[in-house]
């Protein structure tokens, strides 16, 4: 009898990186993928709108003979009170909403994470001062903080960015502080200390990268709430100055014609809702993918 030659078992286990593992889990989440596809299309169209439309003629140019046209094949979402195509304005307006929300969340992220990380790492008086300040800001509703800042500094895109970045920064500061406080006693941090690494380097190189998961989730969710906040300020008349096609301002314009042309207010609101919905779907999916224990 011929001896059976046993082949040595060779099974190679590929270790996936953190990002690859997160992507693998995210792909299984239908909602997150729908959100991601929608947002990708929106970003592409928002960028492309600059090529399809001329800002001065198609976006802010008035065409009184075409005013109050109902949605049709020619004007998909109809035209507004001065004859501007609502679909074109919504696509172009996505630029404002996305740039303002991403910009302010990014500014808030940088400031908040630095402050929160230092508060959590050093504790004591630094922690007390930073956290009491965020407590005070937390005690006033975000929209009220933004209204106060924009009203006092004046309406402009930069002031709007500042006004929306402050509430975002308080959010990130709290998250970063909590993460850092749980990480600072870990062995890898002590080892970094032992080899003589300065504190700021330990925070930047070791602690912040290890507390990224909750921050990434918060970024997606905060971009959504910031889009709503930015359009709220425009709705109140203190956001992006007219005649820029900001979604909240378009909604506010339509209020005066609710009785005769309600559709003017319907579509900008749907655009805000769809974008925030996409971000929330992606944010929820990311939360589940980054921390599978949370998935219920």
């Amino acid at each position: 009898m011929e001896a059976v030659k046993a082949k040595p078992m060779k099974k190679v286990y590929k270790s996936r990186s953190f990002a690859a593992e997160t992507w693998r889990r995210l792909k299984k989440n239908k909602g997150a993928i729908i959100g991601l596809i929608f947002l990708s299309i929106l970003v592409t169209l928002a960028i492309g709108s600059g090529f399809f439309y001329n800002y001065n003629t198609n976006i802010i140019g008035q065409n009184i003979t075409d005013r109050f046209q109902l949605p049709s094949l020619q004007h998909w979402f109809g035209t507004d009170q001065v004859g501007r195509d609502i679909f074109a304005r919504i696509l172009y307006g996505a630029r404002y909403s996305l740039i303002i929300s991403v910009g302010s969340v990014f500014i808030g992220l940088v400031i908040g994470v630095i402050l929160g990380a230092f508060a959590g790492f050093y504790g004591g008086i630094i922690d007390a001062i930073i956290m009491r300040l965020t407590d005070v800001l937390y005690a006033v509703p975000n929209i009220m903080i933004a209204v106060v800042i924009v009203s006092l500094l004046g309406t402009s895109a930069v002031n709007l960015l500042i006004a929306l970045a402050i509430p975002a920064a308080t959010n990130f500061a709290r998250i970063a502080r909590a993460s850092v406080m749980t990480l600072r006693g870990q062995e890898f941090v002590e080892s970094a200390y032992a080899i003589g690494m300065p504190s700021w380097k330990i925070i930047v190189k070791h602690i912040i990268p290890n507390s990224l998961s909750p921050i990434i989730v918060q970024i997606t969710l905060l971009i959504g709430t910031t889009i709503i906040a930015a359009s709220s300020l425009s709705f109140l008349g203190i956001g992006i100055p007219v005649p820029a096609p900001e979604w909240g301002a378009m909604l506010s314009d339509g209020r005066a014609y609710m009785r005769s042309a309600g559709y003017i207010s319907v579509f900008p609101g749907l655009a805000i809702m769809a974008t925030v919905l996409g971000l929330n779907l992606l944010g929820d999916g990311l939360r589940d993918s980054l921390d599978p224990k949370l998935k219920k």
């Binding site: 106060v148 109140l236 805000i272």
Partner: protein, 327 residues
Amino acid sequence: MISYIIKRLFQIIPAILITSFIIYFAMNLTGGDPAMIIAGDKASKERIEEVRVQYGFDKPVLVQYLKYMGGLLKGDLGISYVTNKDVFKSFMERLPATLELSFASVLLAVLISLPLGIYTAINQNTWKDNTGMAFALFGVSMPNFWLGLMLILLFSQQLGWFPSSGRRNGIASLVLPAVTVGLGLAALITRTTRSSMLDVIRQDYMRTARAKGASNQNVIIKHALPNALIPIITVIGLQLSNVLTGSVLVETVFAWPGVGRLVFDSISKRDTPMVTGAIILCSILMVLANLVVDVVYAFFDPRIKAQYMKKGRKHGSSKSETHEESL
């Protein structure tokens, strides 16, 4: 318990100091000339100067702030530059409308979200759960001022069931604003209720209750819900404080004469005493709302009540002991 409440009430003081300092200085440094606002657009230079001296605007901002805080200690929040009315009285005139809207919307939200959150949790991963969660997701993604406009379009202009603005028609006027605020809140509370219930229904004591033959309804209402309530109360409390002070958008859409609109209008008119006073009073409202939430925790959770009692006893026996335990 009482000592805890007193301690929490004292925490209002630093909040008032910081908030009033920031707002007062911001308004003074960036706002227009208050003497001109009081004297009016057509006033002569002499009249404006007279007002400036009369109200003390010629003095440094810090001196003006200290004078303001001196008045605040006596319960005087000052006089509005624009309406010439007492700030406290003006705020109190608007407060009932805000309280009415806040409580109606939170009540509506709780009535929708608690049953829905429980229902989705006990039917996890079924189409019922997915439908409930889709509602919640749409609710949190929808700007409430847009929802308000859509409700006006449908229920006021098309069907004519409810008035579209003001507060003159009693409950009928309240329905649309309360639904607008309430639906957004309901979405948030539903998500929290579901998540909190899912945590609880997997616990061993739930299995024990079922093994002892308790009915499903009994298990959910008597065993699961009381244990799941703490995060739900936290979210309700947070939302209540937000609605109390942050309903400026819904108040604008429905011309609802509340506090949010008062603050917004005062900011645009650079009415420093009104803005500072109203925001101080709003901060007090927020702290009080949070305090009520803390007391409600103790009512629903005997463990928390026991902690308060323990603290109270410690406080009574040794004055020097600090309250290091966090709740």
